[in-house]
Symmetry: C2
Subunit: 397 residues, 2 copies
Amino acid sequence: MKNRLFFEHNFSDELFNFAKQEAEHIGFWRLVDENLSKYVSFADEVSQKCIAIIGIGGSSLGVEAIYNFLRPKFEYEKSLIFLDTTDPIQLSTQLEKIDLSATLFFVISKSGTTIESIASLKYLDHILQFSKNNLVVITDQGSPLEKFGLERGSSIFHIPESVGGRYSVLSVVGLLPLASIGVDIQELINGAKEIKSDFLRGDFPEVVSKALFFGENRNTYGMNALFSYSSLLKSFNEWYVQLWGESLGKVRKDGEAIGLTPIGLIGPKDQHSFLQLLMEGKKDKSVTFIKIKDMDSHLSIPVVSLSNLENLDIINGISFEELINLQASSTLEALKNSGVPTDVLELEDISERSIGKLIFYFEILTTLTAEVMEIEPYRQDGVELGKTILKKKLAET
Amino acid sequence: MKNRLFFEHNFSDELFNFAKQEAEHIGFWRLVDENLSKYVSFADEVSQKCIAIIGIGGSSLGVEAIYNFLRPKFEYEKSLIFLDTTDPIQLSTQLEKIDLSATLFFVISKSGTTIESIASLKYLDHILQFSKNNLVVITDQGSPLEKFGLERGSSIFHIPESVGGRYSVLSVVGLLPLASIGVDIQELINGAKEIKSDFLRGDFPEVVSKALFFGENRNTYGMNALFSYSSLLKSFNEWYVQLWGESLGKVRKDGEAIGLTPIGLIGPKDQHSFLQLLMEGKKDKSVTFIKIKDMDSHLSIPVVSLSNLENLDIINGISFEELINLQASSTLEALKNSGVPTDVLELEDISERSIGKLIFYFEILTTLTAEVMEIEPYRQDGVELGKTILKKKLAET
């Protein structure tokens, strides 16, 4: 994976050293050293053709990002669905599509008391009577959900203590369901591991430089758009939005409200939606492009001339893969020429290794950017007030 | 449809009068008076079970917003797909799913030379040989695409001259494909018409007040989040992002770069992704909630107590519809208490009329906000540079 920066940037030894210390004791850094055999053995025993995840936010976005990136290419025999809402229409539509009795459910909740997930759990338990045969529980050690699972005889897996929800995709949270549908999780971890060691060896200085730039210029460029030129990265964008938004939207110790706002875009679609604003609107955004070098697709534009549309014969004979990547380069160039800070990440291919790299890259970048802004990237206390109000309203109904 | 504003707001007679004048001569205002019989007769003759739209941006986002809002409830017998990309993986996946020879294609492009759409057109023409039997052309009068369509004997429909792409969904652009799959387009227009007349009669002063607030406070609240509490509104959010971003991201005559940045959120999912940033990050965003009062769903949380999870018995017996709407109210209240300007739009139900209202409401709001900021909401000159660079790159390959 290459990262080229098209803005003036510096390196900081201090920040780099901070990262090296973090790598020694912060949870997500150490996930790449886990022995995966227990997940693989578990997955080998899964007989169901459908896996459903009951989980929301950090308990589902990462798994979804990886699954949707890989699925069209790898055509897994098993399917994965995400029950991540209280929306009755979405729930009904999803449940109608699957054979409930032939589905293995993973309920994933760090606290074990996530209201959306428990609502779905109650609904499904009423129909299915959960037992060790159809329910797996992934939660914090000692949570109420763990105790519920134990009573039902379910397999229980613990979320590592020092790993926050949005940094947990490379732990059991992501690895167990992904292994269960046939994803090569060792390759996924290998990708993350490669970025980690490249970075710690000093071979990936761009991460430090970007964090420094984003953090120091937060009042000029308060928004960071991720312009991914592949529909496969749509769910990845959503994972990024949570990671960036929840980690970097914080009140600092000195009382200043800090926030870098993430925006997920898909190319070329959003050239026809968001580009005008990036080009001519207030220059308050940086834009990171993601390209996939080799999409392993042979779809090409045929060499045909359409009557009256001969001006567009310039695209004849090129592959769609080449066209979309040229569109990415052209949009980047236009933004760069207009004074927008841009950079580009190029993935080698569509593989477990590539998405593993991308995920770990963003986890490092996020925590370093937080450090530059002097905020803490692992908590999310701001969401509590809404929960308290909801409980009050529920008690009143 | 009700709109309640939870921030200090004023009314402006001047702005209201401006709107009344616009309504007399600006294209999108007048679409509600069109006679729809020609679309209905055309639709009656469509025998294909699948309709595919070749179009991007303003040529597809609006149709997709309406279709995805209505589809789960109305279960149309015909399906609609959107070919809106040059992404080879997405294109292959989409085309594999349909029977190409039993599909009616609508190619929609205002200029008639949109590169993404012509690329798909070329690809499909090579396989299918487009003719009057499988291709309908919707474009500007006199465009190269119109001439191409005429040579093939296709039905040709013109986009009204004074209606820009992102304001065109209630014209032939949206109405013809929607009628062709069985949507009641008269009801759709009736909804828009109702908002128009309510507004012009002075019964919808909130639109004026909101535009005034958003425009005048653009340097404080530079971002406007739309928090839709229904998965049915996911594509609507995308339509809104284009409408808002392309209309309000402009260089003003005095040289100032103006931009209000739209953000589309879905509840409750994004409570677990974006809410932390809204609550504790920099207070630079306003948040508009959308709720659906009656989802016509009977899905309820059963009255069961799960061992160790008894604390969550507070949700027992309530419907999911009630729960999701309580979540919306609770999140709104939490944001309001934290000093975030919020408002809520409440749709009556899931119907053509409701989505017609919502669309027209946002079209008025957008153009009035542009007026407050003294910019022109209908052009998008900023996207041209990228196109020019792409053409240069293509000529070099």
